[in-house]
């Protein structure tokens, strides 16, 4: 058998297309449907409900800030209502009457030298 005969045989084989059974096509398409990448649908994220108090606490900076603010408020109220006292109550403590003031004569008087005798 020569090349020409073989080429003819190959040409016959090329002409004969294999038919695909409907069953095979159905199986292949079932696979295709099964493995088809699904488009990603963005999920709607439901934001958690925020209460009025938690919104206020968040707005002023959290629990720590709330504690500081409360303390400052109470201190302000106390300062406002407390009976005012003289400032001497403080100064008396610092500078008591018993304090001794000594004077030192660092330059003795010339009187002794001026006395004749």
């Amino acid at each position: 058998m020569n090349d020409s005969d073989l080429d003819d045989l190959f040409a016959v084989a090329k002409r004969h297309k294999t038919a695909v059974s409907s069953d095979l096509m159905a199986r292949v398409m079932a696979d295709a449907d099964l493995h088809m990448p699904r488009p990603v649908v963005p999920k709607r994220v439901v934001a958690p409900r925020v209460g009025v108090w938690s919104a206020i606490v968040t707005a002023i900076g959290g629990a720590g800030a709330l504690a500081g603010l409360s303390t400052a408020t109470l201190a302000g109220v106390w300062i406002g209502f407390a009976q005012p006292t003289a400032i001497s109550a403080v100064t008396d403590v610092l500078w008591t009457d018993e304090a001794v003031y000594e004077t030192v004569d660092v330059l003795p008087a010339f009187d002794d030298f001026l006395t004749e005798g």
Partner: protein, 197 residues
Amino acid sequence: MPFDNASDVPDDALLVLYANGDSMAARELAARHLPRTVGYAARMLGGDRAEAEDVAQEAMLRLWRIAPEWRQGEAKVATWLYRVVTNLCTDRLRSVRRRRAVGLEDAPEVADGAKSAEAELVDHDRMTALNEALDTLPDRQRQAVVLRHIEGFSNPEIAEVMDIGVEAVESLTARGKRALAAALAGRRAELGYEEGS
């Protein structure tokens, strides 16, 4: 349908469409490649039609799976499919060396236009003889000869499918063709080839 004429759309574009959820693109790809992959697998598997269909289905399944990662322009879908089919057939032939006497003639074939009954008969005999002769070749030679002379791939494409060099492809096809000629030498007259033609 996102494309007007599917036959104009390249394979890799169809694959991208499929990866984006277009089942019509998958149908078009299957219609284009399934007949050839089944025919090729059947020739590789000694005419075992059922086995060939399983191989073709598995190859298409792998195509669907790889679709989201397919990089356009890097490989041709047809070459990739034939490579998968070749590997699957090689694995099956290695594990089970079965050569059942189920010829390709058992496979339904589409007649090529209107031909005379006599011509059909001659073609049928020639196909049977060719398949029997192909079956006598070593696996690699058979793959190379079928890919080159029946499936119409170029040598570089066959090299890619078979994962070998182009020179090795040339050697395999040349030796395969010689062996085929030798196997069919005694049947020349029977197949209707006149002496001296």
